[in-house]
């Protein structure tokens, strides 16, 4: 199982703070985003190409090529705007 988290504008658009998923072997962030986009509707809108999203694996920013492993915490969010 992996834990998925959504933040800020993305959290509101999806109407979800997160969920749990069972990842297939060798799943990358990019592939996971395609899998989520395939749900259609707002999921396609948010995870399809065009929207600028960032990803973190286990609370560290990660490139989309990063492989996800069982037990990981994976977060998706818009570019940060603090400070």
């Amino acid at each position: 199982m992996i834990r998925l988290l959504y933040f800020a504008r993305l959290r509101e658009a999806l109407g979800s703070v997160g969920e749990e998923l069972t990842p297939r072997a060798g799943l990358t962030i990019e592939a996971l985003m395609q899998q989520l986009a395939a749900r259609g509707g707002v999921w396609a809108e948010e995870f399809g190409s065009g929207k600028s999203l960032r990803a973190a694996v286990n609370q560290t920013l990660a490139p989309v090529t990063t492989e996800i492993h069982d037990g990981d915490e994976v977060a998706f969010f818009p570019p940060v705007t603090g400070g």
Partner: protein, 147 residues
């Protein structure tokens, strides 16, 4: 991260008075503005990613310490509801000399603005809106790769 306000003077005093080999403290205080992109701002909500926030700020401070000869640094960022004139962020860096303290302070702010998981949602007369990331913040961060 904290919802409460912070005392800039007390934080800087605590930072510098630990060690008499500190000669310089460079600091940055961010304040909520009443105007953004041409619209009046009544207030804002700061969302963050608990756990990652602490981890990313700690990593940014460690990078600054590895890169410049500084003695200590403090970073405070508020979350929750804020209104114009409220303090939002403090970064203070203590070093023997001013050049290193200034650079490390600016570096921490530039990285905080582009890597620390905070998001601002503004209240305007037209309703609420999420603040867009600024290209100028990415540019500010990118220049540290060249030095």
């Amino acid at each position: 991260m904290q919802t409460e306000d912070f005392d800039v003077g007390a934080e800087i005093t605590q930072l510098r008075q630990q060690r008499p080999d500190i000669g310089a403290v460079a600091a940055f205080v961010g304040q909520v503005r009443d105007l953004n992109q041409g619209d009046a701002i009544a207030g804002m909500t700061l969302e963050h990613y608990p756990g990652m926030t602490e981890k990313s700020l700690e990593a940014i401070v460690q990078q600054a310490k590895a890169r410049w000869d500084i003695m200590d640094a403090v970073v405070i960022h508020r979350i929750g509801e804020l209104k114009p004139l409220d303090q939002i962020v403090l970064v203070a860096v203590a070093g023997a000399h001013r050049g290193e303290a200034f650079h490390a302070c600016e570096f921490i702010m530039d990285y905080l603005k582009t890597e620390a998981p905070f998001w601002k949602k503004e209240q305007t007369a037209k309703g609420e809106r999420w603040v867009d990331a600024r290209a100028s913040d990415d540019a500010a961060r990118a220049r540290w790769h060249k030095i």
